[in-house]
Point group: C2
Chain length 491, copies 2
């Protein structure tokens, strides 16, 4: 691709002749890395017209740059950045004058420094990626997703693709969720009770902004999804972490004056605990007594392959007290960024207004593609395939864990895609992860899931959603071997 | 598509026989509109297995429902919702128990009630849509967008499509913006100084959250983009609206103790005024004196077809004092939801952390498709085509406005896609819009752009980005005729 004539401007305050200015512009473009070796410059005629100067001035500048080997000429094809042109320095120097602004003062609020850990972008290059929440290319139905995307790119869907929805959603996707997705969770909802979000993270964030203030109190599970804790910390509400047990969040532990309870009943994150029916009813009763609302993050409900999933907590809610968070980012792929909120109309109205303020609406093409993928039945087929693969992998994993004597601290009753693990003798799992990484093994240290100053360091999560079954055993062996070395045991 | 077996649950607290419960589930599905006429029910075998009950129970329930004409049987094809089944009521009754929650108390913060006006989703059905910011299907390069999307859906880009980018962006899109887009605005920026956003709205919102608090003061243009005013009102900062003149925002009017100045120098929204170079320099000097930052919304810079666009305000900024907001949603299509922020690293770091908290990252597929569309040169071709069309339409529009004696209150020096208009004798443009709508004419009343209690009602915006050239004249004639009727004039 050629260098566009529109990237050239004459600086009204520039010193020197026009010819020198043009030479300088081009040399700077090359030295800053904007213009690369082999790229074609605008013709002398085009550049002269664009800048409103004479063509001979541009020609002379080009000739001079050629003499200095910044440019080469290829006869009638024009001028190109020379293969011998100076290389830009690896990191272009910062403009020194930026200190003119005192950024420590200029930033009104800080958002960096949350608990969400940095995670490797290049996970797919590792041989044993026991990481959570990335799509497995061998399971994803890429061909049909592509066909659905193509259909959503068609002339018939031009408006769905291009239109400014203002604060609205794709009605097809909403209808599908209302008629087909939510009934599987035992939930009956009208379109006015549903809002499409940019993934579950966005749904949780919107919810926190609406329900919480600095004067309100939220109860969260401990451990819990760090992304949620970051959201609540930023909201500056009072935060009560409640230790979960093998049945999830204990309702009796929720203190008085709690306004909102955040919970993952179907599949506690990260311990995988499933809350039994009796406790779900006790939780609803406790919320009713306290006048509190419940936010149910029903992530991964599709991944129930051992037994049928229990209906959502929301399905037991006769008060309109439960706000339900669903996601397609886990079950289709995370880069999709598509989730939804289900709640009473007064809540959804506020969530819609806030979403509109923050980002207007999710991209139309994404919503329509998902609507096709769901309604043509590809989603169900995909989920079926994922369930089968996860069932197999879980069996292999459970066997390998048993064979190598590793300790499971939590596992899902219905299935899921990970085990919650504990190391012997309090081995620090962040050190463990660092030691395993050069050996091609990725694990998730557990500390970021916990709350408070003195967080347990001996837990970790082993997910099997992105690792092929035939590598699990070797990967677990590597973990076990490394653990033995770290504790000084011999195998 | 058949009704999925997974939408059936046995209620643990249900009364009556199993057979009665199944009859009730199906009748309720039909009456609530979830199951529609002609849809196939699960086979008796599948439903029985799923619920863990005997097949004969399901068969008896189906037979009873057939007798009541809820279902029909088509021999071996199974059971279907009968064409004579009762229709669901037009609006299903709300569950009465939802009053259990006092929503006026439960909502911690309200986001509804902003200034952003409701706009018609069905604008394309109007013959004279003088509305702003929707894509024109006759100009958009749908074929090449589709090809780029298809490429971004390919096996080679599987990771770009599906991956969880955590807090990162598509590096290809960022690189293109740094190397090719920003230089056209005279801006040099490194990738660390760029963040991809969900459109310009999202960029402005992120900026406000980082730079403003309840103790800080923002200066905005009056009139200005209502979406921005809604963002700043929600941030609860002190807000100083400054009346713009024909050169845009007057720098000398910016009061002391201003922390952030929001401006649209290239193309004032909505008056279209272009800020001259001398005033841009005065604005930067004023900001330096005050120790204030400037947020430059450079919307529509691509639509300069009368003269070359002036470089961005940001290009004159040697202090790192200007934060630049760009958007592809206007120039490609609004449903895309893709924009970007350019600013010093300490600011971009915070914006990245906040974006990650709120929504993680823009969908990967959208970013990669845009990167292809830009780098293959389709974007430049599209912009060229749009410019030509807008140039023609603007000429037709200016002529029609002159012929019918309408009053232009503001127009862009470089081009743009709208005129800012004023009615004679203070005609209320909201009434004017209502009167024109049944005649197939859509205009944008000006009141939502203004600040304060006593907002002018006699301005309106006439955009020519979505109306074909050959309808402009008749549309303007309709506006002029209606105005004459409303003011009691005869033509």
């Amino acid at each position: 691709m050629g260098i566009s004539v529109e990237t050239f401007f004459l600086d009204p305050h520039a010193q020197g002749t026009l010819q020198a200015q043009i030479r300088q512009m081009i040399a700077e473009g090359i030295l800053s890395g904007r213009f690369r070796q082999g790229e074609r410059l605008p013709s002398t005629r085009r550049l002269a017209t664009h800048l409103g100067i004479s063509r001979i001035t541009v020609s002379l500048a080009y000739t001079e740059l050629q003499a200095n080997d910044y440019l080469t000429s290829r006869g009638r094809s024009g001028h190109f950045v020379s293969p011998n042109a100076p290389e830009p320095p690896p990191a272009p120097p910062t403009r020194g004058t930026e200190d003119a602004v005192d950024w420590s003062r200029a930033l009104g609020r800080h958002y960096t420094g949350g608990d969400t850990p940095g995670r490797p972008q290049d996970w797919a290059r590792f041989r044993y990626p026991f990481i959570y929440g990335q799509a497995d290319p061998t399971l994803f139905d890429h061909a049909n997703w592509r066909l659905c995307a193509l259909q959503a790119l068609g002339q018939k869907d031009f408006a769905a693709l291009t239109t400014d929805y203002y604060d609205q959603d794709d009605p097809r996707l909403v209808e599908f969720i209302a008629r087909h997705t939510l009934p599987r969770r035992g939930i009956a909802a009208r379109p006015e009770e549903i809002l499409i979000t940019l993934g579950a993270q966005n749904a949780l964030w919107l919810t926190a902004q609406i329900l919480l203030t600095q004067r309100r109190r939220a109860a969260i599970e401990d451990p819990c999804y760090y992304g949620l804790r970051d959201i609540l910390t930023q909201s500056r509400c009072h935060l009560t972490p409640l230790a979960v047990d093998r049945d999830g969040l204990p309702p009796e532990a929720i203190p008085p004056r709690t306004d909102v309870i955040f919970t993952t009943p179907s599949h506690q994150c990260p311990t995988s605990a499933t809350m039994p029916l009796a406790r779900r009813e006790a939780l609803l009763a406790r919320a009713r007594d306290l006048g509190a609302l419940i936010v149910e993050d029903d992530y991964e409900f599709e991944m129930s392959f051992l037994t049928a999933p229990s209906p959502a907590l929301k399905s037991l809610d006769t008060d309109g007290r439960v706000i339900y968070v669903g996601s397609f980012s886990k079950s289709i792929f995370p880069g999709l960024r598509l989730g939804y909120l289900v709640g009473p109309e007064p809540f959804i109205r506020e969530a819609r207004a806030l979403r509109s303020l923050v980002l207007r609406h999710p991209p139309g093409h994404i919503m329509r593609t998902a609507a096709y993928f769901l309604s043509l039945g590809h989603y169900d087929a995909l989920i079926g395939r994922i369930r089968n693969a996860l069932r197999d992998r879980r069996a292999v994993m459970a066997q390998a864990i048993a064979d190598h004597g590793l300790t499971i601290a939590g596992r899902g009753a219905h299935g899921g895609s990970s085990f919650w693990m504990q190391t012997p003798r309090g081995v620090d799992t962040e050190r463990l992860a660092e030691t395993l990484r050069p050996r091609g093994v990725l694990i998730e240290p557990g500390r970021p899931f916990f709350h408070g100053a003195d967080r347990p360091r001996d837990f970790y999560r082993l997910a099997y959603s992105s690792i092929p079954a035939d590598r699990i055993s070797d990967g677990v062996a590597e973990i076990a071997g490394t653990l033995q070395t770290m504790t000084g045991d011999t195998p």
